[in-house]
Symmetry: D2
Subunit: 343 residues, 4 copies
């Protein structure tokens, strides 16, 4: 094996995002060689494997046990993430895991501990860190170009809520806003979230509120450096997939993101218009590829991943505080001893 050999990867979870990642790994990244895909739903595994011309299996464990595989991409249901990270780490595989890495702090701690014990690279799928506009904004903050961060904003507006009945409770915090929490943490580097306040509701699909579905949320976060962050999400943006960030500091503002990213416009009797992007896999096509490329580089070079288990835990910590805030109806303090404690 040389420094330029592709990383031999097995992927677990042949759903929507798993299919996207598998396609990137199998077709578009010379640094990767997709060896096998697994999914307990055998038809899904077969379809994806045959489409990409790679081995397919119903059993995830067989991927983890496969000595011909160096790294595992975990893209299955979130509830299974942490267990698979632990198993893969114990098998000595490098791990790329979609967000959220875990659903509880205890699971997050177990995953982190397993990865650290095994000394394997662990990367979490916070793809916005790899979007060029967000990365440029982050670097501008890191270089001090906006001074000390004081007010931050991150928002996600998903283009639809196809089946409200199928969305698990708290999804808006653990699946959607967890991206924004990570973005805020990343922009406000070195600071720790210490207090969370939430207003959330079922405005898009009010009939499902009784089942616990929240589809609209505003989260306010106080950081220990004084900065205040706002994260907003809605599951129903009529105009496209909209992810934006803003950091206001003592010397200026930096912004990132637009649902109309093409440098084109149409001017007609109706005014000026521009096309918007409707899917995350369109808006973040390059970012999805870049995060996997970075993972392969980390695996092959043996370097640290830039977004790992502790980042996943910090974002999860905020998501869990949001759930508590909704349940108790008040502001939730995040205590220091919640931090990085292995259960």
């Amino acid at each position: 094996m040389t420094a330029t050999d592709p990383v031999r990867i097995g992927l677990i979870g042949a759903g929507r995002i798993g299919t996207h990642h598998a396609t990137t790994l199998g077709r578009n990244l010379h640094q990767a060689q997709l060896v096998a895909v697994a999914d307990p739903v055998e038809a899904s595994a077969r379809r994806l494997g045959e489409d990409l011309g790679v081995d397919w299996r119903p059993d995830p464990q067989s991927v983890i046990d496969d000595s011909g595989i160096e790294a595992v991409a975990i893209t299955c249901a979130s509830t299974a993430h942490a267990e698979l990270v632990v198993a893969a780490a114990r098998a000595g595989k490098a791990v790329f895991v979609e967000k959220p890495m875990a659903m509880t702090l205890a699971d997050a701690d177990r995953a982190i501990a397993a990865a650290e014990a095994a000394g394997i690279p662990l990367q979490v799928g916070f793809n916005r860190r790899f979007a060029r506009d967000f990365a440029w904004a982050h670097d501008a903050v890191a270089e001090g170009r906006i001074g000390t961060p004081q007010l931050l904003r991150s928002l996600t507006r998903d283009p639809g809520l196809p089946d409200p009945g199928a969305v698990p409770p708290w999804t808006i915090f653990t699946q959607t806003l967890v991206h924004d929490f990570d973005t805020l943490n990343w922009f406000n580097a070195g600071a720790r979230a210490v207090e969370v306040s939430v207003m959330a509701d079922a405005l898009v699909a009010p009939d499902f509120k009784a089942t616990g579905l929240l589809d609209t949320a505003v989260v306010t976060i106080r950081y220990d450096n004084g900065a205040i962050g706002v994260a907003e999400a809605s599951f129903s943006a009529a105009y496209g997939y909209d992810v934006r960030g803003e950091v206001f500091g003592s010397a200026g503002i930096v912004q990132a993101g637009s649902p109309a990213p093409l440098a084109t416009s149409l001017w007609t009797v109706d005014g000026v218009s521009a096309p918007t992007v409707r899917r995350d896999t369109d808006l973040f096509a390059d970012a999805y590829a870049a995060e996997l490329a970075a993972f392969c580089t980390a695996v092959r070079a043996g370097t640290r991943t830039t977004v790992g288990g502790h980042d996943a835990r910090a974002a999860l910590r905020i998501a869990l505080a949001c759930i508590e805030a909704v349940e108790t109806g008040g502001t939730v303090t995040i205590r220091d001893d919640d931090r990085d404690v292995v259960a």
Copy 2:
């Protein structure tokens, strides 16, 4: 007096914004005739009067009592606003009053009652309603172009905090964010704020936190139509005077405002850049003139003002809830019976 005679106006308060309004009334609005200016600081009154070639007086009451004056513009310190509104209304004068119209709900109710009893036009200086971009956004919402409002945002970033020691406590809520509260109320027309949550701090001038100065705040507001509003303020925007609004609804988004409003850009080795506006009187020059023109029209035509005492009270109600939220450290419910009760 015919329908085209200018409105004879006396102005009380020759400070920064009073000077700006007096100049507009005296020089730029054919619908207005500035008759006199008053300020207890006699030198200020004289300077302004002489500059504009109009009568000047130290005594505000003399303006109110002046039979040659039809309308009074109240631009003095906020603490004196309500009392002057009441006095002017009782004297039968039309009233334009800068925000906030009052500092307590009881005073707001007295002002509203006095104006209604006297049947005089009462307009409050929420200038953003007269900015063309904000008005366009408002109309887009009112016409249903973004569907039902679900998430709203309004922000104010003032370019500086020249003398932190001179800023009264709670200024960020009663003087600054009161604009944003009115903007959110106006965008979300027909809905009532029912709950307020606040994170605020002294990040710009932390040394003055002990004196009660808050210079950075994020306010989250729940409305009775389910919509959630976020209002943000900072007293120290290095890049200019920045006022923006955004309404997300079931059918789309509308945005308004930019600190770089000129249609110009410069592209050099440093990238693309555009000039930003540094003062409210630059960014809102047209809006300031338009609100006074609208006031004159209302006075002369005998029509209702479009932003009156009840609007001032509704925005103040949120500001007072914010103060309570900071003092109690929690979320504050705005009860229905707080609404529009004359003390």
Copy 3:
């Protein structure tokens, strides 16, 4: 008369732009006092005079002869401009004249000579110079921020061609593009146009080509400092009134102008959109007021106007070269001895 007395102005020509200017002078500019309006079409003069509450007359000469009038605004048909400038100058009146100041070089020279002989201020209605975005761009060039100008562009896209049969031949050069020629001259200050090439056609209303109507034109201009300018016009912009400029230099680009000048946008299922402006009097409302304010200041302060007879002649010189280029089908050289020669 003191330095702050308004300038007593008489206006000649109560058509569309005359009505706009008269309204600005009569209602919105404290530096001006509109004394009288004149138009040979008596009904037009009466309508405008009565509307603004000023004296009205059918006879333009009576305005020029009026000892109570200090300055004359000439806003009638272009063919009468030069003669009226000469007459007003001889009568010692300051003169504001709409573009084009003259239709021939000889007439332009006569107007310049008369103004210089009388020592009166003469200002020409090149309103773009007073638009804040264009002025910012001009200043950026003048300050050397884009280095040496090398490529310039100015365009005008008028929103409509209501009656093609009523448009005199060469209008696109003498009435429309004359604005762009002045803009290019102004941006490329100190340089002289030396060569002109034209492609023009009747694309909007081809049936009228036989009558000499050109409704679409691209003019390329070589300047004696090497810079190359492009001026474009069309009489039929479906999307609004569109005026833009761009200067590319050795150190960068500066741009000005947008038909969508409001800082607002609407994002719906159709994409992102913004409203466009449909009339010159909307897009340039502030610029039209600013040019008249500047004229009043020049009159009262006795200073030079910033855009005078020589500027009008230089732009006309290019327009006439364009006509020659269309007639001869080739490139036209502008000889140095054409310049500033009084007939």
Copy 4:
């Protein structure tokens, strides 16, 4: 060989753009398999071959003769393009050739004839057609969203002129503006350029004008559907690599391109700014990959390429007319019988 087997490609020309294409083919496109690279400069061939882990050779003909190679990418010096297209076509290879495909019409006709005789796919490297913003603009025109095209603009501003002495005469037309000519032809589909007028100069490096170097040019093109196109180029854009297009039609405008394509901005005391792109391989990274992907698809599917030999000839025809226009100092008519004549 199945429909999903990668296309086995040999590349001729290991210079700057050849290295870029080879890297894309060898590393980023699953549809392609780079088999060999050739360059008469043996060191270049070796460096590139070793870097990508593929066979390398000094002799281009050996690539053409290689039975294991299906398609040839020709990225060497322009003067050799046509000859290699003919040779590759005769050998039955599919051909991707960088622009310009030929330097004379006779050579272009020979290349077209050879490709047609061999029945091989021939694609020319007009990469702008594959940039998403330009493609969106093109489609908007094709769908009639701006009505009938009347005024078109395309510009290229290259970020630098490292060694003026090394630039062959007429490069600005044959190498740079040939892109813009193709863009204009593509936007104005179905129309034919019939007349060309040029203003060009050596403004960036005037010392080299004597050697025939032109570094700044404005070309005006009349099409047989009446539309007028403007193409502009400069070899020295301080602010980045700037490629833009605009089509004005009877129903509106469409625009494409920006040197600041990231959705990010920085607002500081200096104003609002955004980063610009400095290299074609950054601005058009996706477009370069997309054109090669499209080529592979055409080869494997046996379909027509979307930009072929006749497009290359039409753009070259305009470039040659520009040279004639500069040499004769006048407007050049492009006769119909110049069109598509095989030498």
